[in-house]
Symmetry: C2
């Protein structure tokens, strides 16, 4: 079966100028894939004219756009024909198996929840991203969808993260770490302590508490935290990496001599940058929905957006949603999950953080 991915071609800081060339690159690499490019037809046509997209790229028209700062309510209520909404609708209708957007996170999560609904047994979808570590990479969630979480939510995140790693990385029984402020069981706030108890009882391969420095050490395959903590940790990392990069650049461009040192170090610096280049880690999974949705960084360039498309294709081919469904059902039978709350009718309209 052909993998069909809907692309919100208007989303992100650069819109079609990035999403279209990235789509063309992706198709060249994935001969089994097909893309549905959603957006304003005129705007897309102009950019498409510069490329040779071939027959596996189809334009699906949408007359509106969701702004990068637009409120989720406004996006859902007044932008029913936005490129973002139409891309998600294509997943809902089954015409696409996944959608990718670099649009604003809150609107994307809110609209996806509203249109696709959550999986049975999952109260709240979570944002799961991949980060580089000393040993390889780690999947961390939630990175910002849920500012207030219960211990049950953290357990659900752990299940979803483990299923994703098992499916996409082909790793059996991935280790799960609970982000905390100490390794002892008594450490942490009340929610995290209770989540630790739930995780110890669960059939997951629970490593135990981990601390912030364990994320980049690669201590576990999955890191679980609430969306507030995860978002702060992620953005703090971005800020620190940017500062260190700027400082290094400043020192290397300080004088003619340091510029010479930079020239001599060219290969070293290039290899170093490649190892931590966030573009190769772009594309966060919105997990827990009845459909695959991947969020690209808003500032993604051609390479980064292509990575996000590849991630969506990988989730499709590895049946991530089905695996999460099976695992949740198994834990439900074991009585390890609280009864799934019925999806609230207005759930999708709540502001996602």
């Amino acid at each position: 079966m052909r993998t069909v991915i809907a692309v919100d071609a208007m989303g992100g800081d650069h819109g079609p100028a990035v999403t279209i060339p990235a789509s063309v690159d992706f198709l060249a690499e994935h001969p089994e894939a097909e893309l549905l490019l959603v957006g304003l037809p005129d705007v897309l046509a102009k950019e498409l004219a510069r490329h040779n997209p071939g027959p596996r790229l189809t334009v699906v028209p949408a007359s509106q756009q969701v702004g990068m700062d637009e409120d989720v309510r406004s996006a859902i209520r007044t932008k029913k024909d936005s490129s973002m909404r139409v891309a998600i609708d294509l997943v809902k209708s089954g015409r696409a198996q996944a959608c990718v957007s670099a649009g604003n996170t809150g609107a994307l999560m809110g609209t996806a929840k509203f249109v696709l609904k959550t999986l049975p047994g999952i109260d709240r979808p979570a944002i799961c991203a991949v980060l580089p570590t000393r040993k390889g990479q780690v999947y961390a969630l939630d990175l910002g969808a849920n500012a207030d979480c219960t211990s049950e939510h953290l357990l659900q995140f752990a299940i979803m993260g483990a299923c994703l790693v098992e499916a996409v990385e082909g790793k059996a029984r991935p280790t799960v770490g609970l982000l905390n402020i100490g390794s002892e069981e008594i450490k942490g706030n009340e929610v995290v302590k209770a989540a630790g108890e739930l995780l110890r009882k669960s059939p997951l391969n629970f490593y135990g508490n981990i601390e912030g420095n364990d994320i980049y050490k690669g201590t576990t395959d999955v890191v679980v935290c609430d969306g507030f903590v995860g978002n702060v940790a992620l953005k703090t990392s971005e800020g620190l990496a940017k500062m260190l990069g700027d400082f290094l650049k400043e020192e290397y461009t300080r004088s003619i001599f340091t510029r010479l040192a930079a020239a001599v170090s060219y290969v070293v610096i290039k290899r170093f940058r490649r190892r931590v280049d966030h573009r190769y880690y772009n594309g966060a999974a919105l997990l827990g929905l009845r459909g695959i949705v991947v969020k690209s960084h808003g500032s993604a360039d051609r390479l980064a957006f292509r990575t996000a498309l590849t991630r969506a294709a990988s989730e499709v081919s590895h049946g991530v949603i089905e695996r999460i469904g099976v695992e949740i059902a198994r834990l439900n039978e074991l009585g390890l999950l609280s009864a799934p709350a019925p999806a609230p009718a207005t759930g999708g309209e709540e502001a996602a953080a």
Copy 2:
């Protein structure tokens, strides 16, 4: 008046091998200062014999030591003659104006709270550290003393952080940022949203919500968060910096050619390292106590521990405690603080995170 600082000479991963040379260095730089070196006399004598400490360093004997993993209850109940406890007692009795320890954070905070008590109007002391930013430096608190906080606690942290910056940096009306997951007022968890309201009503120079990346951007002078989030952000930063440093080192030592590039880049790398060298930022203030207590990183070396001593001396000479007291009283009169809770009799024995 001479500044007298009590030093827990046994604390930290290296004990007297670091604390004594650092003390000697500190005294050479601070002709007005005097140190009370607390620890096992035999052990201290052995290390002191290698240096020329001079008359401004006095040994105060203590027969016990608090272990780096020791529980706060055990430290308070069974180690009444530990170097840590005696150093804090010296502050309580007024013989020293501050104490510095590289011992375990939980035991230090718990013992300090138990012995010194909190300032009127302060419910919970907080850990405040200095971090480098692109513009200079930022004071961040709480970094791990309080895993569960109320919005009032966050307001108190903001007041203490602002007082510290005003006093030590001589900066009038420092800006205060509330660490959150978005800049809009509606963002964040319930506690943070309520804290935002309190901060907007306060006479502090409240900048508003900031995000993780603002920490290292240097957007504000003070960053306020609960101890869980702060600890995760700090340790995540440590882990990321370590990983990036290791990667850079690996690339520079990969071959004879890259080693040559490293040699050519020696000055650049040295200057870069100097700018972000954590040893120059060592020494976290335990704020909110009726006395100055500075916590050094456990793994501090001679230079780092000297930085912590210098920080304590600066807090003494700038009257940080008095300033916090005045500011809290002022806000109390304005009715902006909830009535100070009486210090619980067993408060100091609670486990500090």
